[in-house]
């Protein structure tokens, strides 16, 4: 863009200075046979549903770093305000920090207005921030809550577009979860039915998507009450070993033994007490 003046370098925003260096490093690392560390993502299944008295949000608990599970029980349902919670998919750091920033701003806003915050306000704040960063913040969110105008559910994409719907899914397992929703969703469900539906949708994501796994967390938000069920369902309990695999003493025979004493001299001894007050 010719409009940017050369003399004044505009500060702020992301710095891409290291991209060239990273590319060179990556090329060198690959020659040595190692692979560069990947960003930790939450290849994920998250979803939400509006039912008779409020919203139910659900998420799996697996965080991946490339093809390795980095965290088997991470929490993907983030607090925004007492009546609003947000599930996050995409880059773990981005979802965590974005929700924390908006939660902080929303609390200040709520103190300023003297009212309980509205879900649509949180939606506006999130979409305007994500649009400002033009998709570089990789946060795909399911935002849900109950305010003075009833229950609301939004899906928010990394580029800043939002959809207001009665049921939404996001993440790598979203197609599996959406299949369950499209089959069994009805308007004005009861709480137990809604919880079962969300649980089954997340389970579909966990068992059919490699990026999702471990347990199912649920968050049920109604007017004046939030049930944060973590874990709601331990769908993947670690198995119990059937036998002991320890080797008996003497399994490995000793052929030779050589003892070399290290003569060390105490030069200086000092004691520093830690301040534990």
């Amino acid at each position: 863009m010719a409009s940017v003046s050369v003399c004044q370098y505009r500060p702020g925003g992301f710095s891409f200075e290291n991209c060239k260096r990273n590319a060179l490093l990556e090329a060198d690392i690959n020659k040595l046979g190692f692979s560069s560390p990947a960003a930790r993502k939450t290849g994920t299944t998250i979803c939400g549903v509006v039912y008779k008295d409020g919203v139910v949000l659900g998420a799996d608990t697996r965080a991946t770093e490339g093809m390795v599970v980095a965290d088997k029980n991470c929490s993907k349902i983030h607090y925004i305000s007492p009546n609003i919670y947000c599930c996050g998919a995409g880059t773990a750091a981005d979802t965590e920090m974005t929700t924390q920033i908006i939660s902080s701003n929303l609390e200040l806003h709520s103190l300023s207005t003297g009212r309980l915050p509205r879900v649509t306000t949180a939606n506006r704040m999130l979409k305007q921030m994500l649009f400002r960063y033009q998709g570089y913040i990789g946060a795909a969110l399911v935002l849900g809550g109950v305010d003075c105008n009833g229950p609301h559910l939004y899906s928010i994409y990394p580029h800043g577009s939002t959809d207001k719907l009665p049921y939404v899914t996001m993440g790598s397992g979203s197609l599996a979860a959406m299949a369950v929703f499209e089959d069994r969703y009805r308007p004005n469900m009861e709480e137990e039915e809604a919880k079962r539906l969300v649980r089954d949708a997340i389970a579909a994501g966990i068992f059919n998507d490699l990026g999702s796994g471990s347990n199912i967390d649920l968050c049920v938000i109604t007017k004046g009450n939030v049930d944060y069920l973590r874990p709601h369902d331990m769908a993947n309990k670690k198995g119990v070993r059937t036998g002991s695999y320890r080797y008996k003493h003497g399994t490995t025979g000793v052929l030779t033994k050589a003892v070399t004493p290290l003569n060390l001299e105490v030069v200086e001894e000092s004691v520093q007490t830690m301040d534990t007050s």
């Binding site: 060239k20 649009f131 959809d163």
Partner: protein, 228 residues
């Protein structure tokens, strides 16, 4: 009109962090607006896609900008939502300053200002339509690139390519409100049948001096044509 885009950006493509969702949400779409005596009829399909997956099959692409001014959105969902929010704010402010209903041309100019100034960064094709007391029903089109022109009938989005012939041959000046509704519904149905990026339900709205009447035509209630 939809331009196929390859979103690899030089050195960024090496860094995996930036290609999480290499898909953007798009309103590849069919949108349409028709002027008649006393108002306008606007219509749109309801599909939003991320790649080959339909992210929202019941999208409302007819966005109110002011009491009697709407815009039909096509292109990038994020861009058009952000632009529409900004113009809604600006127009509301302007209307309070003037203490009267804003002109449709003003709304269209605001869209044009934004779409032209940031044309390199944005992907937005917008049709602005509404009714004002001074000039009645008007349709202004602001396609990708940021030009603005007034037309009696305008179509937009990826599905519009399939219905230019139908629209050119079937539009007559001086149609009544009911004729316009039927014309719009049929044109959108034809486009939705042929364009993979358009589908779902048909959303229609009539804007006139009396206000705004909205209606939805569900999939099974769409008009039927012989080959379809």
């Amino acid at each position: 009109m939809f331009i196929s885009q390859n979103f690899e950006m030089d050195s960024f493509s090496q860094n995996p962090e930036f290609t999480i969702h290499s898909f953007f949400t798009f309103l590849d779409t069919t949108i349409m607006a028709v002027e008649f005596e006393g108002g306008v009829v606007i219509g749109a399909d309801s599909r939003t896609t991320t790649g080959a997956y339909i992210a929202n099959r019941v999208t409302d692409k007819l966005t109110p900008i002011h009491e009697r001014i709407f815009c039909c959105r096509s292109g990038s969902a994020a861009d058009t939502q952000a632009i529409a929010d900004a113009v809604t704010y600006q127009l509301g402010f302007h209307s309070i300053e003037l203490d009267e209903a804003p002109l449709v041309q003003t709304a269209a100019s605001l869209f044009r200002e934004m779409c032209y100034r940031y044309r390199e960064e944005l992907m937005a094709g917008i049709i602005v339509a509404g009714w004002d007391p001074r000039r009645g029903g008007q349709v202004y089109t602001v396609p990708v690139g940021g030009m603005m022109t007034r037309q009696p009938v305008s179509v937009g989005g990826s599905g519009s390519s399939y219905i230019y012939g139908y629209v050119d041959s079937n539009y007559r000046a001086g149609m009544s409100k009911e004729e316009c509704l039927k014309f719009t519904a049929e044109a959108l149905t034809l486009a939705m049948e042929r364009d993979g990026s358009s589908g779902g339900v048909v959303r229609l709205a009539v804007i006139s001096e009396q206000g705004v009447e909205r209606q939805v035509i569900l999939g099974n209630q769409l008009p039927k044509f012989s080959t379809v």
